[in-house]
Symmetry: C2
C-alpha cells in the first residue's frame, strides 16, 4: 500500500511527529470506529455533522435520509472533510501546560459522489450492516424499493488523508519529574454493554451470536 502524499490541507502542521500518511495507519484508525464528523461548507459557513461511516478499500461511505441537508449538499460533489477520532486516555502531567489527551484521529479530504445504481446501493448497505453486526443482513426483512429510494448513499475516494496520534505517558519538563506531583494516564475506552431485547420481540425471535461482541467496531466488552 502506497502512502498518501501530504498536501497543504492534510499535512500535520502542529507537532509534525504525530502525523502519519501511510494507509496502514490511517485505515487502522478508520477501521477502529463507526462514527465520524463530516465537515462541509454552505454559503461560506462551516457545518459539522456526526454520522456513521464505513470503509471499502480506498473509499469511505456514509448514508442517510435523502432529505438530509448534509447528504444533499455533499452529493453534489462539494468539498468534504471527514474526521474520525478515538480518545484513548487523559494525560495528566505535572504542569497544566503538559496535560494532554492520547488519541487517534484521521482526517480525510475529498469530494463525495452519490451511489445511484440500486444494485450497487443495496450491496453497499449490506456491507454496512455486516460491518456493524456480521451475519445480521441475511436475518433481516429485505429492503424494499421505497426504502432504497429514501436512502442517499455517498462514497468518497480518499485523495488526501492524514492521521494524528498521541500515545504514551505525559512528557514533563525535566526539572518537574522530581516534584511530589502525581502524574499518569487515565485510560478511556468505548464499551458495548449486554444487548437489550426489544419489548415487542416476537416469541420466535432468538438472540443471534452477532450481538455478543463488537470488538470489530473498536468497542471493548463491558
Amino acid at each position: 500500500m502506497n502512502d498518501f502524499k501530504p498536501t497543504a490541507r492534510s499535512k500535520v502542521k502542529r507537532l509534525p511527529k504525530r502525523g502519519h500518511y501511510d494507509r496502514a495507519t490511517i485505515y487502522a484508525v478508520l477501521d477502529a470506529g463507526f462514527v465520524c464528523h463530516v465537515g462541509y461548507v454552505i454559503d461560506a459557513r462551516p457545518y459539522v455533522t456526526p454520522t456513521c461511516y464505513w470503509r471499502e478499500g480506498d473509499a469511505i461511505y456514509w448514508h442517510g435520509s435523502s432529505a438530509s441537508r448534509m447528504l444533499r449538499h455533499l452529493g453534489k460533489g462539494a468539498d468534504c472533510c471527514l474526521t474520525v477520532t478515538h480518545v484513548d486516555a487523559l494525560v495528566l502531567a505535572r504542569s497544566g501546560f503538559h496535560h494532554s489527551i492520547n488519541y487517534r484521529a484521521a482526517m480525510l479530504f475529498g469530494r463525495a459522489h452519490k451511489i445511484e445504481d440500486p444494485e450497487e446501493k443495496l450491496a453497499k448497505m449490506e456491507t454496512f450492516v455486516e460491518r456493524i453486526a456480521p451475519g445480521r443482513w441475511p436475518t433481516l426483512r429485505p429492503v424494499n424499493k421505497q426504502e432504497l429510494k429514501a436512502t442517499t448513499l455517498l462514497g468518497m475516494e480518499m485523495s488526501e488523508a492524514s492521521a494524528k496520534i498521541r500515545s504514551g505517558p505525559p512528557i514533563d519538563d525535566e526539572e518537574d519529574y522530581a516534584l511530589a506531583i502525581w502524574a499518569g494516564l487515565v485510560p478511556i475506552e468505548m464499551v458495548a454493554g449486554a444487548a437489550h431485547d426489544d419489548d415487542r420481540l416476537a416469541a420466535s425471535a432468538k438472540r443471534p451470536p452477532h450481538i455478543e461482541d463488537f470488538a470489530h467496531l473498536g468497542l471493548k466488552r463491558r
Copy 2:
C-alpha cells in the same frame, strides 16, 4: 434560561422531533463530554479538527498551541461550527432501513475570539483543568509566562445552537414486529479505567482522589 431561536443554520431539518433548542438540553449534552469537533473554512474548503472544550455559562472555550492552524484561523473571528456527539447505543431493527444509533449531539454556531488578557487566560486554564480533574490545579507546578504565551485560548458565545437526540427502542414497520427477527439495543458507553502511575513518578508523589472518578466528564467507571 431562555431557549435558542432556531435559525436557518441551527434548525434540525431531518426528523424535527429529534431537535431541541432549550439551553437545559443543549448544555446537558455539552456538559456530558470534553471532546468536540470544530469546523471551519479556509479558502472555501471545510476542515474538522477534534479538540477539548469546556463550557462556562453561555460560552464555550477551547485552546491549544499558538501554532495551531485551527486556532490561528478561528482566533481571527471566522465562522465556526462546534459539534459534540455522544453515542449511546446501536439500534438493531428488524429491517436494514430502520437500523439506527441512539445519540446525543449538540451543534453550536458562532464566531470565536481570542482571550488575550494573561490573568483571564490563566483563570480559564484553571477552570479547564478543574473541569477535567477537580482539585488538581492547586497540586500542579504553576504555569509560567512562556507557557501562557504559547497557548491560544478561544471563547465563543453561543449565538445559535441546537441539540439532536435519539433514544429508545428500534421503531419498525408495524407488520415487521411479528417476524422472528431479533431486535433491540446494544448500549455503548465511554468508560474511564484505573489510572496508571507515570513510570517516572517521584517517590513522594501520592495518588490524588481526583483520579478515581470521571463521571463529571460523562465517563462511566470500568
